[in-house]
């Protein structure tokens, strides 16, 4: 019997490594830094029915969106009487089919072995511009999706291996940067062709039926593991609420909520009590909300698990149609992450006090993305820089939060190195460091620091677009831990602050201006008065906090000359402060 167990396992290993190699194939050939530096893309291998078998690393956002995107698209094709053929590669970015926003271009390829559909390769990546009213195709000003770029509902880019030039021309005519978009789409397609070759090799060697069995085994393994892990979670209903800062034309901030119900066999995220979709680009479609729930589910169960669709079996999402978490056309979605990431954060917030060994306090949450577009005086080329930025994470029950890490749903994306920015764009990076000024949420364990990055603009007529959140409501603390700090972007002209905010479009910059991106610090865990004075002293020595903050927030008295802790006075002061707070 050993042969069968081991053969199935070897095939499962190969399937996982195919997905990983798809990932590297794309990185090495992509044209835009958002793919090759930031990794704002993910490939996946699905079974013939579109169920997730293996993922390459990349964006958790996409993990469960890839199979949903594929299944929705295939269903639409079937309704039109069309079916996938060997060598076809489909192009799709319609958020109402595929979730997220129009920038995320999806490619789907049926993987055949001798006329038998064995698997489906799917990949999704952010291209820097798909047309629309803003350079970079997203911004805070859109009120319906038609303003956000070209909508591609799942069409053949390749038909039986032949490039469909008409489709390509149509797509490229609708972007500000056709060269880059073409190169990136080809880099995504290269990953799918790689998968096709490997699936054929695999079936040649082990036989198609055995390969199919291995896929089934991978799904079952996921089901078994998630059931096992679900047992360990505390059963019950948990509630959380948050606010998203209002957009132009709104009277008040948007209240959002979740009820998480954990039962013996289900993990339900109920988004029933939420407002209708809004005339702003922050609506998310159902695939995104579902992906949020799966991200949170993986985080609370086992972040290291090798996921397959089976692992998500217990996850259920309830979100009424027409609400901000399940928008219907023509709602704008280009900044979908503002709600989608909140959906993760809400579930996280509801569960953190109950699953402290897995979850941290609130983090900076936003993508804190900016778009800077300009004509590069060095080569006269029109360029668009789009980048998600890292920030501070919340404290855990037993340690300080991580500093300068990308937001939860951004997962394995990387920040752009200064060298790449300066090489590719007319920008000088004058500062890239921890954001001490805005601080963190203090506590027995404190939040991690956000990032401060100053870009000196070296071109005329540059334009800034940004749409960030947590600009008024800071990351939450747990168990007496203090809230963290907010995200914002500052524009400095001649060393003076001329703008400080989170949402901008058509914002014209002058050559020499500084765009200073400042992400927030994470929330704290437990009362600051319980923090080990030695850790407070360490923070002072590192200049993370001032001596005054040590005294006023932590009740720790530190000698400004020697930086020694005055233990006696500290004890006394902490006692007084505790009584005062009671």
């Amino acid at each position: 019997m050993s042969r069968d167990i081991v053969t199935i396992q070897i095939i499962k290993n190969v399937l996982s490594s195919i997905a990983k190699e798809m990932f590297y194939t794309t990185i090495r050939s992509a044209k835009s830094s958002i793919i090759y530096e930031t990794y704002d893309f993910s490939p996946a291998l699905l079974d013939a029915e579109g169920k997730l078998i293996a993922i390459g690393t990349g964006l958790p956002v996409f993990i469960d969106i890839l199979p949903i995107m594929t299944r929705n698209m295939v269903k639409l094709l079937e309704e039109q009487g069309s079916r996938m053929e060997p060598g076809d590669i489909y192009l799709v970015n319609d958020p109402y089919i595929a979730g997220t926003h129009l920038n995320d271009v999806g490619l789907v390829m049926p993987l055949f072995y001798k006329e038998r559909l064995m698997a489906i390769g799917a990949i999704r990546g952010h291209v820097n511009d798909v047309g629309g009213m803003n350079p970079g195709s997203w911004g805070p000003n859109a009120t319906e999706i038609y303003q956000e770029g070209i909508i591609i509902p799942g069409v053949r880019l390749y038909r039986r291996g032949e490039l469909n030039v008409d489709v390509l021309r149509l797509v490229l005519r609708n972007t500000r940067i056709p060269d880059y978009v073409y190169g990136d789409i080809e880099a995504l397609a290269a990953a799918l062709r790689y998968a096709q070759r490997r699936i054929v090799e695999l079936c040649d060697k082990y036989g198609a039926e055995t390969v199919r069995e291995a896929m089934e085994d991978k799904l079952n393994e996921g089901r078994m593991l998630s059931r096992k892990n679900l047992q360990k979670l505390p059963k019950g209903e948990y509630f959380a609420e948050e606010y998203i800062e209002k957009y132009e034309g709104m009277d008040e901030d948007i209240r959002i909520t979740v009820r998480v119900r954990i039962t013996e066999d289900e993990f339900i995220a109920d988004f029933t009590e939420n407002p209708p979709q809004v005339r702003a680009p922050i609506n998310t479609t159902l695939p995104g909300t579902y992906a949020s729930a799966t991200i949170a589910f993986v985080a609370v169960t086992d972040p290291h698990v090798s996921v397959s669709e089976g692992y998500f079996d217990p996850v259920k999402v309830i979100a009424p149609e027409g609400t901000i978490f399940n928008a219907v056309p023509p709602a704008a979605t280009s900044c979908y992450w503002e709600t989608m990431f909140y959906a993760v954060d809400l579930i996280w917030k509801a569960l953190a006090p109950h699953i402290p060994e897995r979850l941290t306090a609130g983090h900076f949450l936003s993508v804190v993305a900016e778009t800077l577009s300009m004509i590069d005086p060095r080569d006269k080329k029109y360029k668009i820089l789009v980048e998600p930025n890292p920030g501070g994470w919340g404290a855990a029950i037993d340690r300080d939060g991580e500093s300068v890490l990308v937001a939860s749903a951004d997962g394995e994306t990387y920040a752009h190195p200064a060298e790449v920015i300066e090489r590719e764009y007319p920008i000088r990076v004058e500062c890239m460091r921890l954001n001490f000024e805005d601080g963190v949420g203090h506590g027995r364990f404190r939040g991690g620091f956000g990032m401060r990055k100053d870009y000196r603009i070296l071109a005329e007529g540059a334009e800034l677009v940004c749409s960030i959140n947590r600009i008024g409501y800071p990351p939450w603390g747990v168990d007496g831990g203090m809230p963290g700090s907010c995200n914002h972007i500052v524009i400095l002209r001649d060393d003076k602050v001329i703008w400080d905010g989170g949402r901008a479009f058509n914002m014209r910059l002058l050559k020499g201006d500084i765009v200073s991106i400042r992400s927030g610090g994470g929330g704290g865990w437990g009362s600051p008065l319980e923090r080990d004075p030695k850790l407070v002293q360490w923070d002072v020595m590192n200049r993370y906090i001032t001596i005054q903050q040590a005294r006023e927030i932590y009740g720790v008295v530190i000698n400004p000359e020697t930086l020694e802790i005055d233990l006696k006075t500290t004890e006394k002061l902490r006692k007084e402060m505790r009584e005062r707070r009671r």
Partner: protein, 453 residues
């Protein structure tokens, strides 16, 4: 000291620029493979070094290894790692070796590595106090390794301890110890084959055109299975004892200095640009000659090679393209551009002939040839009978059968043995599967080729 890009420098130089020596050890193994292959008249080689905790592999087509400038250390699924922009021979490695631990994951899958028992406590069967099963224990239990001793008798093997260590795993899988062990061996072989696939197929090389040079304790154990999987037509197990093969590679490495210069410009097909490219190379060449002078090497004995790092506009990753070594004209730039399109197609399955190209860097390599050590010939006397150590029972694919065992050191030169058999040496065991035959050549290398019966 060995450089990451192959070649040798004085310790004084290495002290000043230690970064250029990273991964020097395993890289010596590739160089050793190239040396051995040039003696044997080989052409394309893949070198696999199966150690006790990791297995490393490298490739050299036309005996010329590829130099990359995008090497990452400590990067895996859970660690971001660090990029090192220094010229490094392309090697890959996995956490798999003789002391890799056998375990069962949460989903009930049998696994081997990347955790390892290391030298201490080592495999359970070494009797040094290790109680966790390792790949070596699996080899002993399935009959691939001698169940009584290793290292020509200097290391005693306790099969009963291996059996005991494997019993927990076997019970969980509902198998007996032999079946579980053979499963472990298959998984290890598959992981090793995957490593070779990464360094060959994934980079656009066809393994069927290569010879596999297998050294290290585990290398010759994996080799025939890798060769079957990837249809590699020839395996060489070097006569130089495993363990010192890397050092042998180091001795007599050519003295090598290289310089690269980052200078980004759009590739233009005109005379002025060709002249500019030429001048950048000449600049580097004169500096490279200076470096040789400092080490007391006559610069006139130095041969230089030129490479261009080229990419399509906007890309981050470059491909290294050799460039004509002389007065540059437009035709040489055209030639380089043509080679780039082809290399890009080979690497990624597409090229963008309409897209602009950029030269990102210039790379000059200077080589001063050093006379390598020679291999001595072994005795032709003796016979197969005298080398016979009897038979052992192997457990493969659910059934048991007996295979002959030979002592490597007693095999005369020129003898050919048919698989299946096992050749035990003082420092390594070579498995000859039923699909191969093994020839003991004049230098004492074991050469495996398919057994067409």
């Amino acid at each position: 000291m060995t450089l990451s890009a192959g070649g040798m420098v004085t310790s004084e130089y290495a002290k000043r620029y230690p970064i250029f020596t990273i991964e020097g050890g395993p890289i010596s193994g590739i160089i050793g493979g190239i040396r051995l292959s040039s003696i044997l008249g080989g052409k394309n080689i893949i070198v696999i070094d199966g150690g006790s905790t990791t297995t490393k592999a490298g490739l050299a087509k036309e005996l010329t290894p590829k130099v990359y400038t995008e090497y990452w250390i400590e990067q895996d699924d859970w660690n971001a790692g660090y990029p090192l922009r220094v010229p490094t021979l392309d090697i890959t490695e996995i956490g798999l070796g003789g002391t890799s631990l056998v375990w069962i994951d949460d989903a009930g899958n049998l696994r081997v590595g990347p955790q390892a028992a290391g030298a201490r406590p080592g495999p359970a069967c070494y009797g040094q106090g290790g109680d966790k099963p390792t790949l070596t224990d699996a080899y002993v239990l399935s009959g691939f390794l001698n169940p009584e001793y290793l290292l020509g008798g200097r290391l005693k093997v306790f099969k009963d301890l291996a059996h005991k260590a494997m019993s927990g795993i076997a019970r969980q899988l509902n198998l007996d110890e032999k079946e579980a062990s053979y499963g472990v061996v298959r998984l290890a072989n598959d992981n090793a084959a995957n490593l070779i696939r990464q360094i060959s197929v994934k980079r656009g090389y066809d393994p069927r055109e290569f010879t596999l040079i297998a050294h290290g304790g585990a290398g010759p154990m994996f080799a025939p299975f890798i060769a079957e999987e990837l249809k590699i037509p020839e395996i060489v197990v070097p006569a130089i004892p495993s363990g010192v093969f890397n050092s042998w590679g180091m001795i007599g490495l050519d003295i090598r200095h290289e310089l690269s210069l980052t200078d980004i410009s759009s590739l233009k097909m005109d005379g002025a640009y060709a002249k500019y490219v030429g001048s950048r190379f000449e600049e580097l060449e004169s500096r490279v000659r200076e470096m040789f002078k400092l080490e007391g090497v006559d610069p006139s004995s130095v041969v230089t090679e030129r490479y261009l790092d080229i990419r399509y506009e906007g890309q981050a990753h470059t491909l290294k393209i050799p460039c004509y070594n002389g007065r540059l004209g437009i035709e040489h730039l055209k030639e380089a551009a043509e080679m780039f399109h082809k290399a890009h197609y080979k690497e990624y399955g597409f090229s963008l002939p309409e897209s602009g190209m950029e030269i990102v860097g210039f790379h000059v390599v200077g080589i001063h040839k050093v006379k390598p050590p020679e291999l001595s010939r072994i005795s032709t006397t003796g016979s197969l009978n005298r080398a016979s150590l009897g038979e052992r029972t192997l457990f493969v694919d659910g059934s048991e059968f007996n295979v002959p065992i030979y002592k490597k050191e007693s095999l005369p030169a020129g003898v050919v043995v048919e698989g299946p058999c096992i050749i035990e040496g003082d420092t390594a065991t070579t498995v000859v599967t039923k699909n191969f035959k093994a020839r003991h050549d004049d230098f004492g290398n074991i050469i495996l080729t398919p057994n067409r019966r």
